[in-house]
Structure formats: structure tokens, C-alpha cells
Amino acid sequence: MLKNPTVVSVSQLNRYVKSLLESDHVLSGLMVRGEISNFTRHYKSGHLYFTLKDDSAAVKAVMFRSYAARVPFSPENGMSVIVSGSVSLYERDGSYQFYVTDMQPDGIGALHLAYEQLKAKLAAEGLFDEARKRPLPPYPERIGIVTSEGAAALQDMLNILSRRYPAATVVLCPAQVQGAGAARTLIDGIRALNAAKACDLIIIGRGGGSIEDLWAFNDEALARAIAASGIPVISAVGHETDFTIADFAADLRAPTPSAAAELAVPNMADLQYYLADLGARCHGAVVRRIEGTELRLRQLRAGLTTPEGVLRACGLRLDALEREIRAGVLQRLDGARNRLQYLGALVEERSPMKILSRGYSLTSADGRTVLSAEQVKPGDLLTTRVADGEILSKVTGTNRRTT
């Protein structure tokens, strides 16, 4: 204790106040709600410095690196948080500060916030872009599985793979799928499979659990390892409703480990059927090709075995052609002749002279053919043509036939 009126140094004063603050029961462990402002993460030390404030007051706060590393989300200016810690004095400045040991987002869960922040960050980087996704091999020969060795999820996958596609080989890479260090072992698994070129497809996953259980699959480094994998990756974490960062980074998200096994391989029966079909197509095409060639050969052989045969075949063909041409021409000539005869007969039949020869005659008066009794009167001169000449006569009277 200082005695009045002892003069003390500034350092002594600050040290004294600091000791008072640190010995206070309330100030040595309390929680404070406030909004973050003036936030900085020291680039070298990794300590967080910020101001906590409400509507009318503010207090400086610091969170050392060892504590800051345990905060899953990234604190930001304007974020409402609840911090735990103690109050002390920074002797150099004589200012009192809140020394933060834990930080929770006010309102939503820390993990949920961290998840959303990481998802937004990696999405902005393009890590989840569709264009980055690699196609899966249609008939994988070796399938790497990174998961917990004793888990039911692994057994489910092995059962489905051996039922659907027993031709494959599974390369198991045992990993821890929850708890501290789990992300590390998952990353190691992916890298080891890539380094050994051990497989042509990787399934990484685990069965269902709480958000904390699945947390390793929301690790940033794991997401980057998945994206960097040279071998396509299917992620299969938890149940259908669980989405993890690993799911977004993977080439394909399977809703469950069992679904991943279904998606990873074709059904062997389908493949066998397809192979049989391909075989039948090849076989049919070749048989048709050979039969066609055989037929052509037989046809050629039939006529063209010797030079004489070739000549004979050509001669026969020429004869046949000549016959055809001749017959054609004659037919045309005959046709023309027949038609002429017919027309001649027709003309002859219709000739007036022909009619006269049958006893009919043609009478005219003044050069006009007489067609009616009324056309002439007594005394008119008529000229009547018969087959062999003309008769001249004079009309003595007319009688008109009444009908």
C-alpha cells in the first residue's frame, strides 16, 4: 500500500490500478455483449484488436492469437457478439481493456455463422464453380474411400459396390471423421491417394451426426484439398439434408454414403447387357458384309471364269440388245402402217363418190346443193351428179312431204 503523501511514478500508478482491476472478483471473469468496431487482426502476431461498443459507450478489447484460433467464424466490424474474458489495464497507455478469451455471435450459432462465412468466401473465389467439376469415370477400376474404418457408412458402401460392380477394387484410406484433427486426416487421405495414384475416383464421407460431428467436413483446408485433387471426388456426408463445405467443393455431392456408392459405379448387369449388344452389332455387321461379298463373288464366278466365257457373255448380251432394238423398230413401223391403212379406209368410206357409186345422187341448182323441195320451183334447171357423170333436167313441179 502506498502511503500518503508519497510521490509515485506513472508506471507505479498504472501497475497499482492494474493490480486492483485484476484482483476484482467481477472483472476477472465476465461476459459482455457489444458490437465490434475498429477491428484489426495483427498481420504478424495474429492477435485481434477491436473496440466493443453499444449505443453510448465503448471499451477496447484484445483477443490473443491462441484464443482467436478457436473462433470458428471471422469477426467483422458491425457484428454483434458476446465475449467472455477479464478486464485489465494496458500499462503503457494507461487504458483499461477487455481481454477476450471466447467470442460467440449474438443471435445465431458460431458454427452456423462460420459455415456461411466460409461458404461465401470460397464461392467468391470460384472454388465451387461448375466449370471446375471433373467428370466421373464411367467404369472406375479402383475407388478410393476416405472415411472411418469401423463405421457403418463404410460397410454400407462396400455392400453396394460389391452388389452393383464387384469388378472394382476399393482402396480404403482410414481417417478420423470427427473431433479435433479430423480434417487433417481427411486431407492426408486425399493427398495420399493422389500421391500414390491409387485410384480413379475418391469417395470421402461419413454417416449422419450433429453439426459438430460433421464439422470436419466444413474445414477450409479440406475444401481446398478436395478442389486440388487430381482424382475426381464424390463427397457423401451425413444425411440428405446435411450440406457441408466439402459437398460444394467436391465434383459430385451424394446425399448419403450409400448413394455415393450407387453413383460411383455402373450396374454390372447393365454393362454386361450393353457389351452383349455391342458384340451383336459387330457380329451382325460383319456377317452382312461377308454375305454380301460372297453373293457378288458367286455372281461374278458364274459368268466370268475364262476369256472365252467373258467374250461369250458379251456376245450374248450384244445379240440380245440387237434383237431388242430390231423388234422395237419393227413394232413402230408396223404400228404406223396399220394406222395409215385405217385412216385410208376411213377416208374412202366417207367419200361422196363412194356414196354415189351405191346409187345415191347429188342435185344442185344454180351451183347450190338442193336440200329442200322449197328450194326450187317449176322451170328451174337442175344438175344431178351420179357416179359416172351429170344429168341435166328441168323442174316440172314440187311436192313437199308433210311430216
Partner: protein, 69 residues
């Protein structure tokens, strides 16, 4: 046909041969291609028939500390 032939490559080649045979090829080529197809089918069916899922374990990898988490 080599030992490194994969089922995927075999199926792809079979598809190619089936397409070629369905088109215009000489009889010599057709017979050659058919011979290849028969071998590929034997290979592929051999891989699938009587297969039993094999499970290998990759030796536990060393911790890689090359990148900060």
C-alpha cells in the same frame, strides 16, 4: 491388347468398332475389326465375370504439415 487396358477404354473402342462396321469398310478391315472386337469382349466380360469386390488398405499416410490450416 495390353495389361494396362481398362474397361473404360475397351468399351470406348468397342463402340468405335461397332460404328465403323456399321459403315463403309473394306472386307479386310471388317474382318480385322471384328477380330479385335471379339478380343475386347473377352477382356471386358472376363473382368466382369466371377468378380469379387477387392478391398485394399492404403498405408496410413504421414502427417503433411506443408500447408498452414
Amino acid at each position: 491388347m495390353t495389361k494396362t487396358m481398362t474397361l473404360e477404354a475397351a468399351v470406348a473402342r468397342l463402340e468405335e468398332i461397332a460404328a465403323k462396321l456399321g459403315g463403309d469398310v473394306s472386307i479386310d478391315d471388317a474382318v480385322k475389326l471384328y477380330g479385335e472386337a471379339v478380343k475386347l469382349l473377352d477382356f471386358a466380360n472376363g473382368k466382369l465375370e466371377a468378380a469379387k469386390l477387392k478391398v485394399e488398405k492404403l498405408a496410413a499416410p504421414k502427417e503433411t504439415e506443408d500447408e498452414p490450416v
